[in-house]
């Protein structure tokens, strides 16, 4: 054990004397996190100001439509929902012209104009009834605000259209079954059931649209800088590990590794020392970055036990991967070039540059093919307040990756230095 520590200590001290390597391991991730954090809001969280929307609701309602006799009012209600108060600020206007003028005058990013026959068209039971449209009038210079308004209104209309489709289907069935007298009542019930089952969004909650993450039900906001620094930290841990693991090749060329093999120190102890030096170095790197993130950017990383576990697993992954890369190449130059390629691809796939919170669909699945994707999801969950139980998979899966990386690397080294 003392020999392993001696090798690890030697390498660690050598790394600490290597100023360019230290700059790459510590300053680069901090600088990138600071720059990107500033670009995306300059502070603790990513935020944009609420989009100003002028609404003119001319809908006269539909007689006999029961609870939803004025669909226009429902749309206005969706826009004014408390869940969306951070996203849109609604001001009601008496007319379509007044609403459009607000946009023209730059007082609103978008105007929503609901026509007088909106409810009538919506609740018409005949498939051949005249159609109508809700207008979203946008200021072309405020694309994001317009897109947000379109999205919310579109979501609401999607719900209405679904309910309308359900009502039409019920009406058709009742008529076909000779129950024409109850057709209107059945159509209303079908539409109501569609609403009750959640087919229509009574309000589009951004929180509800967020990805479901371990611990995602927690209420803490995750700062942009924290998310970015977590990604950069894991990414640069790969490079830090690569730098130290590369000393195996450097020592091979310098003759110190073959000389080590002529000493009574067993080869597995020598490689164990090398692995330990990589692991210790990147762990120290991560701790420094975490502390710096806390005191420079005020990042709340989350519960200490979960942070410690994630840090150690990330260090194990970085170490195992670096040893695997080094075991597959012959020269330090190859290690630099191929290592950089591997780490960059993994970072792109795993979400080191984009974060994992916004990922959905196929990209979310791709992220789970990478150890860093799992780790970053874990960091996101911990920063949201998650604990060890919430990130169990985010620890176990990368740990499995690390074990496989190390085992393959050990086999390759054993073959090379047999």
């Amino acid at each position: 054990m003392s020999r392993i520590l001696a090798i690890a200590w030697k390498d660690l001290r050598s790394t600490m004397r290597n100023v360019p390597a230290l700059a790459m391991m510590l300053l680069a991730p901090l600088a990138l996190a600071a720059l990107l954090g500033f670009a995306f809001g300059g502070g603790q969280s990513f935020s944009i100001s609420a989009t100003k929307v002028a609404v003119a609701n001319a809908d006269t309602g539909a007689s006999g439509a029961g609870a939803a006799e004025n669909a226009g009012a429902v749309v206005v209600g969706v826009l004014k929902s408390p869940d969306l108060s951070d996203v849109v600020a609604v001001s009601e206007k008496p007319s379509a012209a007044a609403a459009r003028k607000s946009v023209d005058d730059g007082k609103a990013a978008a105007a929503v104009v609901i026509p007088a026959d909106f409810s009538g068209a919506l609740f018409a039971t005949s498939p051949t009834a005249p159609k109508t449209a809700v207008e979203v009038y946008e200021n072309p210079t405020q694309e994001i605000g317009g897109a947000i308004t379109e999205s919310i209104v579109g979501q609401a209309l999607l719900g209405f259209n679904g309910a309308r489709a359900a009502a039409l289907a019920a009406n058709g069935l009742a008529t076909a079954n000779g129950d024409g007298a109850r057709a209107a009542e059945l159509a209303q019930q079908a539409a109501q059931k569609y609403f009750n089952d959640g087919g229509a969004a009574a309000g589009v909650s951004v929180a509800q649209r967020a990805p479901r993450l371990p611990g995602g039900e927690s209420t803490k906001d995750v700062g942009v800088t924290g998310t970015i620094l977590a990604g950069m930290m894991v990414f640069f841990m790969f490079f830090g590990a690569n730098n130290v693991a590369r000393t195996i090749l450097d020592e091979d060329r310098a003759g110190t590794l073959p000389r080590l093999f002529t000493t009574p120190t067993p080869r597995h102890t020598i490689l164990g020392g090398k692995y330990s030096s990589v692991f210790v170095t990147v762990t120290v790197q991560a701790v420094i970055l975490l502390v710096a993130g806390r005191f420079i950017f005020g990042i709340d990383w989350g519960r200490l036990d979960a942070v410690a576990a994630l840090t150690l697993v990330a260090a194990a992954v970085a170490s195992g991967l670096a040893l695997l890369v080094i075991s597959a190449v012959r020269t330090p130059a190859q290690a630099g070039a191929i290592g950089a390629g591997v780490y960059l691809v993994l970072a792109l796939l795993g979400g080191n540059f984009t974060g994992t919170a916004a990922a959905g669909g196929t990209y979310a699945q791709i992220q789970k093919l990478t150890p860093n994707g799992w780790l970053l999801q874990g960091w996101d969950a911990v920063m949201r307040g998650g604990g060890l139980a919430d990130i169990a998979l985010n620890l176990l899966v990368p740990l499995l990756f690390a074990v496989v990386f190390f085992a393959v690397a050990a086999l390759r080294f054993r073959k090379r230095y047999a």
């Binding site: 003759g255 002529t262 009574p264 120190t265």
Partner: protein, 314 residues
Amino acid sequence: MSIVEVQELRKQYDPPKGVLAVDGVSFHIDQGEIFSLLGPNGAGKSTTISMLSCLLHPSGGDAFVDGHSVVSDAQAVKEAIGVVPQDIALYPDMSARENLLFWGKMYGLAGAELHTRVDEVLELITLVDRQKDRVEKFSGGMKRRVNIGVALLHKPRVLYLDEPTVGIDPQSRRSILDGILALRDQGMTILYTTHYMAEAQELSDRIGIVDHGKMIAIGTNAELVKIVGEEAHVDLSVDHYLEGMVERWAEVPGVSTATIDEDRAVLLVQDANEVLPRLFETAAAAGSRITEVNVTEPNLEMVFLHLTGRALRE
């Protein structure tokens, strides 16, 4: 009593078609003697040492160090040997003392014993005053001394030195050779490889001459020189017509062999004083003029030339 016994040692890289670097080499080294492997670059000396250091696995044969097989008992062999590699194998960003402390730990030393041995070795390699300086600041000779010192830390029974004087100044070389002789006087067994004939002659109790992976001669310096008898070595340069002259000189009475080495003729002659006038006469008769003559009494260089037809430095 033999402390190193090498039996038909063989190494082929990338078999079956790879280079046969060592081809059935056998020799033994007695306790307390300096045994030199002498041969040109690429003869198989370093490969032989690598196998005896358990760094390379032999393709065939075996070797025993202090009774332990390099094939089946590598750990015991490593505890018995100290290896000084051909190139400086140290950590340049660490001081001499830090290097010795680290390597001492790798040899299993610890605590007070480790520090005592480091102090002793620093004294031995005369670097006590510079022990805290980084190795990268040292001269070539000083680095060589630290390189040797590392291998002495654990008081090995056998010390392997692979061309330890390559590329250093004469003063440092002298210092290292004296140090090696002192170690021998203290009872250490030494395996020394070199392509410098003079070093082998000066240091060695016995010498093995290797070429193309084979041991072509073995014995004391005196025994080896007897192989070429009393013949002297005559180097001749001529102003032109070298090839033709070599053919004619080969037929001169008293000349055993005549070969070309780069731009000069190399002759083995029985009596230089008697033969030299005939060589001048032959050259004059052929219209050629001798521009330089060197006469060397029998030595290992001539033995190598005699056995291989080539000069040792080739």
